[in-house]
């Protein structure tokens, strides 16, 4: 069973300190929600853990089953079992979705999937997320609507089967139907009980579909309060005002 352990993580962007000591442990079978106001550093946490070059680690550790991810390259982290569903997936001209997915699955599994098996998995995955079959031939994220991009992120999640998934505002910009489809995908992913989910969100809406075990409130670059699902209900009623004032 896998565990992601974030210990006293400190991160800066261009000499500006964003994360000021984050501690968090996500075990397989658990779903953690990180909630917080805009600019509190939630996305920085996601991208720093994944290894985006823009972020400088100034202290701390991120351990996946005891291995320090911060010592690994971006692709090594992914192959170690970390997945980041991005808030704004980038368009990559000339690279088809099917080519990209096959390359990613091959890299993560360490061997090329059998063509027929892969085609079957891909079709099943796309059907489950109501993604049109023509997507496989389109260029990666090019001309995708917001909802299509997010479905495509969850398709990758289901195909790559990571140990720990970090979902960065996967719910933002989705209408209710798309939110339901995407949430069902996340729930399929965690149904095995062998994977951990770290769900970053500004709104409580997605938590009605993807029930968290733990809720953490993020403000000023660190976790300022922790609790169970009931904490989300309180945030829904009261908003973040108390936290933004405290951290300001």
């Amino acid at each position: 069973m896998s565990t992601l352990e974030i210990r006293d993580l400190q991160v800066a962007v261009e000499d500006k300190q964003i994360l000021r000591g984050v501690n968090l442990t996500v075990k397989a079978g658990e779903t953690h929600a990180i909630m917080g106001p805009n600019g509190s550093g939630k996305s920085t946490l996601a991208y720093a853990v994944a290894g985006h070059p823009k972020y400088t680690i100034t202290g701390g550790q991120v351990l996946l089953d005891g291995v320090d991810l911060l010592e690994l390259s971006v692709d090594e982290r992914a192959r170690a079992g970390l997945f980041l569903a991005m808030q704004y997936p980038v368009e990559v001209p000339g690279v088809s979705v099917s080519n990209f997915l096959r390359s990613a699955v091959t890299a993560v599994r360490g061997e090329a999937p059998k063509l027929r098996e892969f085609a079957k998995d891909l079709k099943a995955g796309m059907d489950a997320l109501s993604i049109d079959a023509s997507f496989a031939q389109r260029n990666l994220n090019e001309g995708f609507s917001g909802g299509e991009k997010k479905r495509h992120e969850i398709l990758q999640l289901e195909l790559l089967k990571p140990k720990i998934a970090v979902l960065d505002e996967t719910d933002s910009g989705l209408d209710v139907d798309a939110l339901r489809v995407v949430s069902e995908g996340v729930n399929r992913f965690r149904a095995s009980g062998e994977t951990g989910v770290l769900l970053i969100t500004h709104y409580t809406r997605i938590l009605r579909y993807v029930k968290p075990d733990f809720v953490h409130v993020f403000a000023g670059g660190r976790i300022v309060e922790e609790g169970g699902p009931e904490l989300a209900d309180r945030l829904e009623a009261e908003g973040y005002e108390a936290y933004t004032k405290a951290s300001a």
Binding site: V74, M86, V90, V92, G94, S103, A107
Partner: protein, 373 residues
């Protein structure tokens, strides 16, 4: 455009068969300022006497006539008059010309491949004429290989309603120098498709141009180049819209890697007063893969009529996008493979436009080899 600058429309007016009408370039002229003259091995100043050989072989479609003719053949030089010093030098010095003729209404069943192989480091001058009579259709490949110092002119005469698709592959050895003009003259409702691939050579300067003799002409000029350390690959395009209701589309893409890799792209499009209803677009993109590489990209669009259907240009040179690489790496794809995928994507849609399948595969594998090396 500055007041003292010469309008584009007069750039091509300097045209002559006489070498003496062109001064030896000094490098300060607008048309020569990007080209390293010292590496031309004398092609520009009259010191490069023909000495070596470029061996020309033609594998022709059965419907096509191929001739090797002397310089007095009256069909030569009808469509194109040399527009710069080296072009005039080549015209003054070539001994034999290759003439490919596709008869009226003939449809060539296979590509016609003209292979030009440099035999060593000698100097050679050449001339090629590809003539499609009315309603004819053909695919012609110019395949440049080996080592040479070579200057030539190529005339494509596309008759009324004819369709000519050309692939010109500059796959020279590392030390080759090649300066070439490709001129296409389009008749009424003629279609011209040019695909230029420049990979090899120390210095390649290729100037494709298009003119129209009647309305309805349609030209697509596509190019791909991969510039390695120390290479100078220059493409200078000129589309002269002098007839109404013609179309042109120019798309050139290049990647550069290594110290001293230098790409030059000049895209001149003129829409003359008479050319109402013109539809034209030109695009150049450069991907700088390493430090020390340089791309100069200059699109020029001169519109002298108020009645165009569409006219635009775009030029962008930049590095590989870190966000693209990050996205692919975040899915487990190693850096080198992510880079290959993105570059392949950058070129991929272009390569698919190459008419001949074997060539498509050859160009793809060449690009792959460049990426691996």
């Amino acid at each position: 455009m500055g007041l003292n600058e010469k309008p584009l429309s007069t750039l091509h007016e300097k045209a002559s068969y006489e070498l003496a009408d062109f001064a030896v370039p000094t490098g300060r002229e607008e048309e020569w300022r990007f080209t390293p003259l010292s590496r031309l091995k004398g092609l520009h100043d009259g010191t490069a006497a023909a000495s070596g050989g470029v061996n020309v072989t033609v594998e022709a479609a059965p419907e096509v006539t191929v001739e090797t003719v002397g310089r007095d053949d009256e069909r030569l030089g009808k469509a194109y008059v040399p527009a710069d010093r080296i072009s005039a030098q080549a015209y003054a010095a070539f001994e034999k010309a290759t003439v490919v003729t596709v008869p009226r209404e003939a449809v060539a069943s296979t590509p016609t491949t003209i292979t030009l192989t440099g035999a060593g480091d000698g100097v050679a001058y050449g001339h090629t004429l590809v003539k499609l009579e009315a309603m004819a259709e053909a695919v012609v490949v110019l395949d440049h290989r080996g080592s040479a110092v070579y200057a030539d002119n190529v005339e494509f005469v596309v008759g009324d309603g004819a369709t000519l698709k050309v692939v010109s592959l500059q796959d020279w050895a590392d030390d080759a120098v090649h300066v070439s003009h490709h001129h296409a003259q389009l008749g009424k409702d003629a279609t011209f498709r040019s695909f230029v691939v420049t990979l090899g050579g120390d210095l390649v300067r290729l100037s494709p141009s298009v003119s129209y003799t009647a309305p309805g002409g349609d030209a697509d000029l596509t190019g791909l180049y991969f510039v390695d350390a120390g290479q100078h690959l220059e493409h200078r395009l000129l589309v002269d819209h002098s007839q109404p209701n013609c179309r042109s589309n120019v798309v050139y893409k290049g990647a550069l890697q290594g110290d001293g890799a230098h790409a030059v792209w000049i895209g001149d499009v003129i829409i003359q007063v008479e050319a109402e209803g013109t539809d034209t677009y030109e695009l150049n993109r450069n991907l700088l893969l390493t430090d020390g590489a340089r791309a100069d990209s200059v699109p020029n669009l001169e519109i002298l009529t108020g009645e165009v259907a569409g006219a635009g240009h775009a030029s962008a040179s930049g590095r590989l996008d870190d966000e693209h690489i990050f996205y692919l790496q975040a899915r487990g794809i190693p850096f080198d493979e992510a880079r290959r995928l993105v570059i392949r994507g950058f070129f991929g849609q272009l390569i698919e436009k190459i008419e001949v399948e074997e060539l498509r595969d050859r160009v793809m594998s060449k690009v792959e080899a460049e990426l691996a090396g």
